[in-house]
Homo-oligomer: 345 residues x 2
């Protein structure tokens, strides 16, 4: 009897059954009792080593970890890992990280494929000039992408959030509030998520008759320091009649820096400047962890990590047959950092 059969027998989801077996606290005592009883009665026992031997699988999924002196892993990666790890536990797979600098990543994928140390890989931080998809296909490595390349017709499995729609909604809200001079402190536009977000802002502006050139757009690594520096460049010594009245920000860290700059310049949210931040849902730094709680575009990167693991394992086992492009809607959560555009002055 496998997990699927046990779940069907109990009329419970595989997730619930696995959680009950693994001692997760959110399963009720009664459900846990039923599951454990049934598992014992029907002789269900997760035995990963035996199963791996039987299936010829490595029991691991892989990721090429970007490294190098000038590479900073985004702190949100821990949340992605937390979600991925939670699901990996249920499916009894490990995550194998193969470090590689950008210029040697092709070699890393070749080595992974040759060594059969993993059953599949996930790709992330998808780029405009993405070449990994063609490579892992050529190598015959099962894969899924977190994010997607620019070409939507490529026919591979991915999980992405609707970055275009999220930043369209955010810009749209600002435009409806009367803002016309927008700034966008974006992430690095070598990556597709940042391109999609920029597209969303431009589409909203076009809908209000504003040309692309009207946007003050800056792309940089999403650190507190860059947020501060760019906000200072936008607002210090700027003419109140021409400076931006609203700022879109790519990450909570960037926003920390923007808010610090506004504070130092004596500019108040939302009286002088409205701010909307993207929020990956990060327990260490929340939108209400600001003196003026932030309006955000919200999407849980932890949930994305769990989903990437779930689908990659399904792709490996053959449960997922046709490549599926999955794009999650993003919530716009309005808090106190947005308000009507200041009167011309």
């Amino acid at each position: 009897m496998n997990l699927k059969q046990l779940s069907e027998l109990l009329h419970l989801s595989q997730t619930t059954v696995s959680r009950a077996l693994n001692g997760y606290p959110e399963v009720s005592a009664e459900t846990r009792r039923r599951v454990l009883e049934a598992a014992q009665r029907h002789g269900y026992k997760a035995n990963s080593n035996a199963r791996k031997l039987a299936t010829g699988r490595a029991g691991a999924i892989g990721y090429v970890l970007p490294v190098g002196r000038n590479v900073d892993l985004d702190p949100h990666f821990v949340e992605f890992l937390a979600g991925l790890g939670e699901h990996a536990l249920m499916r009894e797979v490990d995550l194998s990280l193969t470090p590689a600098p950008r210029e040697r990543e092709q070699e890393a994928y070749r080595r992974i494929a040759a060594s059969r140390s993993v059953d599949g890989v996930y790709l992330s931080s998808m780029r405009n000039d993405e070449q990994r998809i063609a490579l892992v296909r050529e190598l015959g490595l099962p894969f899924i992408a977190h994010g997607r390349a620019l070409d939507p017709a490529a026919g591979y499995g991915f999980v992405d959030i609707d970055n275009e729609g999220a930043f369209f909604d955010a810009a749209q809200l600002l435009l409806q509030l009367g803002h016309r001079r927008l700034a966008f402190v974006n992430g690095d536009t070598d990556f597709t998520f940042a391109v999609h977000r920029l597209d969303g802002v431009k589409r909203a502006m076009a809908g209000h008759g504003l040309p692309d050139a009207a946007l003050r757009h800056h792309a940089a690594a999403m650190t507190e320091g860059n947020g501060y520096r760019l906000a200072m460049a936008l607002f210090r010594d700027a003419d109140p009649a021409t400076r931006p009245t609203a700022v879109l920000s790519a990450s909570m860290f960037t926003t920390l820096g923007i808010v610090r700059a506004l504070d130092q310049l004596g500019l108040k949210m939302p009286r002088d400047v409205s701010v909307i931040s993207h929020d990956d849902v990060f327990p260490f730094l929340k939108p209400d962890s600001f003196t003026v709680p932030l309006t955000t575009t919200r999407s849980s990167i932890r949930a994305a990590g769990a989903r990437i693991c779930e689908r990659l394992v399904n792709i490996i086992t053959g449960e997922e047959k046709a490549p599926l492009g999955e794009i999650w809607p993003v919530e716009l959560v309005v808090r106190a950092s947005t308000g009507p555009a200041p009167r011309a002055g």
Copy 2:
């Protein structure tokens, strides 16, 4: 010819040779040319699969990743991973993460040992009631600890920072500045690092004749939200004549929350309250990313990640023979958030 022989031939360190071969930017063009030339002439080629087959090694080190609904991975883990990954690249090993909730971690180590999927493991977040060291010894798994258990005589390899000394120095500075009413927003004291830090603060206070009970000590997960909540509890509606005049903080995220609370209460650093924060050196949030730059106890967790990998591989290969306890000194970096204690008022 192996890396060691090639390095000796060139009178260069193995690190430099490996970096040159791996295309790291900080190696000069001239050195890179020499290294590549010599590698070619002497037929040096890293061939990890062949070597793994020859040595019978897995070519991977392992880590049991804590997971569970209520587990938040600390964001500094990405910096640790970045350092570990950089060294793992040079030594051509992967990092295998095995997810496990706390109550099933023993099972995870047993499974790792049985499957021989890794050549050794590192342990981290060492606890007061640490039981993993005895377990991995029993299993015959080579290991190293990041941090250490409370018993210093246990005779195993570890890399730790001098948490006791760091917080002694920090408290000592505050006492020398005339502060007598100290608060400490500590991490979770189930972990030894937090116990060591508390010991350091108490030792400094004892040196000034202050009893342990004079310290306002709070232990909590190191989030912005907890920093805010605890600082609010300490300072809101508190009598200026009895409230703390100085706060020690366990992490940059905690400190963000403390500073937000002080701002909201109209308390200025260092006029009303001095603050010292621990800083793991985190590129996304730096001590000068505060309107009043922070005095910190500073130690790079990225460097610790690299060192853990280096020593674990050396333990696996037998290059490190006697178990070595390595305790790194921590710098006290004085910036603007500390000053003389306010006059009794």
